[in-house]
């Protein structure tokens, strides 16, 4: 087999060919306009745009569309590529949502590891005061890369769960637009390459990229802007696809309020992604244009009279947070959906208040659009805005509370068992609780004037993100692992993973909050030992390494169990959900015949009830 028969390899070649072509185009245009040939800002922007297109063409994600323009028919090919080993389909364009789901999930997991390693590097530096091995410039680059790589990993992880699970859960053959689905996945790959290249040049603003700082630094910024633009495009296309799939492809009998609850979470998430992502794409493009072409959007410029004829730095912050606050709900709503999905199975009880949980996801998504200004309490915007955003932000606590209490109602009176996925679900609740409860203290503006840009905020959002994404993501991996591979993971190792990671995380986030109240600023390469935060930092670093080690155990577990794990059978968890009524691993065509919904999804304990009727396909 030839290496270039892998789409990924062809894509990477296409990327670098495109890069060279793009740079050449820019240079020739500049020469034609009588300018010097090389300008690194313009050169790289042209290069990246062409490189991205080059990748997408070469990987084959647009081949069918191009054929359509010529009137050529492109029937679906199902199953592994002809004449090649089965694993190769994961490295090429494939339209099966299960393959794409795995591609998303694995890429997301890899990014989580890369982003996490960046954190370990600078955590090691921060373990004691004084600059030991990371120079401040490198420190800033690692810090900033950590954030965007980790955020990209979450977006891809969410995409993985949604793409794999949603069609299975609603008994659909595939997503509504399989080709668009593949395109939306693959556009992330050149974006990640671009993001990695930015490290060669460095950039130092943190993920928020506030101008004017982001207008001044090295050319690495351009790569960040365009990488995030592409990842944003992926979010928009992917969420569009998911919304259409859920609204139009449900089986007979599955009303909206009979969808598995995870689908509601994805519906709310997708609405946010479809409507808010434009704002960050726009904001980052404006930064790129300002850098490349000198368009004065954000940087103030003065004329001879001292009047500002340039831009306004705060404008960027509004655009940025108008996306980035709702985005934090993109990170957590799917995970909260996983929690709601798994609890009934392991409690053997109906989900308490299904409709309330479903609607609270929508409520969080909608209120989430009104709160962006809580990131700007100290920014110097109009004073009355602080009050407006304080109130709207506090309101988010209401639908969030509904979820917590409904989860308790689900546990109450159950017959609880605690395999690894359940442990991670409970861990998620405990961690998200820490994150959620530290929110209102940042929302009342007065306290935020003190806590903003301190380690307290770092503690807050790591707790929300771990509780709302990482823990549920791991729960989901352990839970659906038997469905994906057909084999069970090693329960012992799973439990060790949990008991290392969870206390590790509690210690880490509380210690971060402690450091914040003691006056530790966020995003600094070195700190003043006079603050007394040194022991706290040592603790954070140790906890961070414990968490990292526990994740290595998970990887080992997942790899070895795929070979030696016990055969799982169709439904090891005795779930009512449709995907557990079919063989594991799921066959190429998931459902032999269309399914019909004949009951409520979570009626555990109601004698004789089922959720779905499988025409034809029995228990094997």
């Amino acid at each position: 087999m030839q290496l270039t028969s892998l789409g990924l390899v062809r894509g990477i070649i296409g990327y670098f060919v495109g890069l060279v072509v793009g740079m050449a185009v820019v240079m020739i245009s500049r020469l034609a306009l009588g300018m010097s040939a090389w300008d690194q800002e313009a050169g790289w922007v042209g290069g990246i745009i062409f490189a991205t297109i080059g990748f997408m063409l070469a990987v084959g994600s647009m081949t069918d569309w191009l054929k359509w323009t010529r009137g050529v028919e492109t029937p679906f090919h199902h199953g592994p590529p002809v004449g090649k080993p089965a694993w190769t389909r994961y490295f090429s364009v494939d339209y099966n949502h299960k393959v794409i789901g795995i591609q998303y999930g694995v890429t997301g997991f890899l990014l989580l590891l890369i982003g996490g390693s960046f954190a370990l590097v600078f955590r090691a530096e921060l373990a004691d005061s004084g600059i030991s091995f990371l120079q401040p410039g490198t420190y800033n680059t690692f810090l900033s890369m950590h954030a965007w790589v980790a955020l990209a990993s979450i977006l891809l992880g969410v995409g993985g769960m949604a793409n794999y699970l949603v069609p299975l859960m609603i008994g659909a053959e595939d997503m509504a637009f399989p080709r668009l689905n593949a395109f939306a996945y693959w556009i992330n790959v050149p974006a990640i390459i671009t993001l990695m290249i930015s490290m060669l040049f460095g950039w130092d603003s943190g993920w928020t990229a506030y101008p004017p700082l982001s207008l001044r630094g090295p050319v690495g910024y351009q790569m960040v802007f365009w990488a995030i633009f592409s990842i944003g495009l992926s979010s928009i296309l992917g969420s569009l696809n998911l919304i259409v799939t859920m609204l139009t492809m449900r089986p007979k009998g599955m009303t909206l309020f009979r969808m598995p609850i995870f689908c509601w979470a994805i519906l709310a998430t997708s609405i946010i992604q479809l409507t808010a992502t434009q704002l960050i794409g726009l904001a980052f493009l404006m930064l790129s244009f300002e850098r490349t072409l000198g368009m004065p959007f954000f940087n103030p410029l003065y004329n001879a009279l001292g009047e500002n004829i340039g831009g306004q730095p705060l404008l960027f912050q509004h655009l940025f947070w108008f996306y980035s606050h709702p985005a934090v709900y993109v990170f957590v709503l799917p995970g909260l959906g996983i929690i709601s999905e798994l609890l009934p199975v392991f409690a053997r009880k109906p989900l308490f208040g299904y409709r309330w949980i479903a609607l609270s996801s929508l409520a969080i998504a909608l209120v989430g659009f009104l709160v962006w200004g809580h990131h700007m309490f100290t920014s110097g915007y109009g004073e009355y805005l602080r009050v407006v955003f304080m109130i709207s932000t506090l309101l988010v606590a209401v639908p969030t509370g509904v979820k917590f209490f409904s989860w308790l109602g689900t546990l109450w009176g159950g017959r609880l068992t605690f395999p690894t996925p359940m442990l991670f679900t409970l861990g998620a609740i405990s961690v998200f609780l820490i994150g959620g409860l530290s929110g209102p203290i940042l929302a009342t503006a007065a306290t935020d004037l003190f806590l903003h840009d301190s380690y307290f905020v770092v503690g807050h959002f790591h707790a929300t993100i771990f509780g709302g994404f990482v823990f549920p993501f791991f729960a989901a991996i352990y839970y659906w692992y038997p469905k994906i591979t057909g084999r069970m993971y090693n329960e012992m190792l799973g439990k060790i993973h949990f008991w290392l990671m969870t206390p590790g995380f509690w210690v880490m986030s509380l210690a971060q909050m402690t450091a914040g109240t003691m006056g530790m600023r966020r995003r600094i390469a070195d700190y003043d030992p006079a603050l007394g935060v040194e022991p706290v930092h040592m603790l954070i670093t140790i906890a961070g390494f414990v968490i990292a080690f526990s994740i290595l155990l998970m990887i080992y577990n997942l790899f070895t169990s795929a070979e030696v794990g016990a055969l799982a059978g169709n439904n090891p968890w005795r779930s009512r959900s449709p995907e557990w009524q079919i063989p594991s691993p799921v066959p190429e065509h998931s459902y032999a015949q269309p399914i019909a919904v004949v009951g409520e999804p979570y009626d555990y304990g109601l004698a004789g009830s089922t959720y779905v009727a499988m025409a034809g396909a029995g228990d094997d």
Binding site: P136, N140, L213, R216, R355, A397, I441, H452, L606
Partner: protein
């Protein structure tokens, strides 16, 4: 051994959990106050911040205890026993409960909005008996007084309301003296302000709190709060050093 009731809706469960939540709230509240030492304490504006922070801590302690105690209790009491293969009790929800736990948080939100509003007002207001302009640039500070004195350190008299005007010349910075409490960004193209009435004599540091590039971490200047006589003496000496004729200004 305490004999627990079979039915999950038996009152006995809730009495036990209620008592545990109460104990846990107290324990957790003190624990959190111990590990979250708010270092903002040496200005008039820091007081309301500390007060509100501690109010939050008690609310957090209660809500955390409420959820975690209920959860742990359920995990222990409603765990599946070895020989028991039955399913859980069948109830799908309870609208009254859902309404209760929507409305009570809503009331709390209204209360906290009101308290938050008042605290914000108290934490941001003050007089302008002393005025000073702090200019931030990559990666240092200078301080300009209205009489023309320029200084590398900021000196303020104790217990006098000060109005600090903030200006950035290059990128966004943020003015933060931990011990005073609030911080305020410096934004190129505009002048921002903050009120501070320092209440304790001593030497502090103003540290830039908004990532501003390479040496952001070391963008620090000294802040001295001194008795009023000392402040006047310092100011006079600066005037002499900098040859500023008060009359000609």
């Amino acid at each position: 051994m305490l004999k627990l009731p079979q039915s999950s809706t038996d009152r006995k469960h809730f009495v036990i959990v209620g008592a545990l939540v109460f104990v846990a709230t107290i324990a957790l509240g003190f624990f959190l106050l111990a590990i979250l030492p708010v270092k903002a304490q040496y200005s008039v504006q820091a007081e309301p911040i500390r007060w509100l922070f501690q109010l939050h801590v008690w609310l957090i302690a209660f809500l955390f205890a409420l959820v975690v105690v209920f959860m742990l209790y359920a995990l222990i009491v409603f765990r599946k026993r070895k020989d028991d293969d039955s399913e859980g009790e069948h109830f799908e929800g309870n609208t009254t409960l859902e309404v209760v736990w929507t409305v009570i948080p809503l009331i709390l939100v209204i209360i906290f909005s009101f308290i938050g509003f008042q605290t914000l007002r108290d934490a941001t207001r003050g007089g302008d008996e002393v005025q000073v302009e702090a200019v931030g640039f990559q990666w240092a500070w200078t301080f300009n007084y209205p009489n023309g004195v320029v200084s590398q350190e900021m000196v303020l008299p104790v217990n006098k309301p000060a109005l600090i005007s903030l200006r950035a010349t290059d990128v966004i910075h943020s003015f933060w003296v931990v011990e005073w409490g609030p911080k305020q960004d410096l934004v190129p193209g505009m002048t921002t302000r903050m009120h501070i009435t320092p209440t304790k004599v001593g030497e502090f540091k103003v540290r830039c709190a908004e990532l501003c590039g390479l040496s952001h971490w070391s963008m620090v200047a000294t802040v001295r709060v001194v008795p009023e006589e000392e402040y006047i003496a310092w100011m006079n000496q600066k005037l002499v050093e900098q040859n500023i004729q008060t009359a000609s200004r």
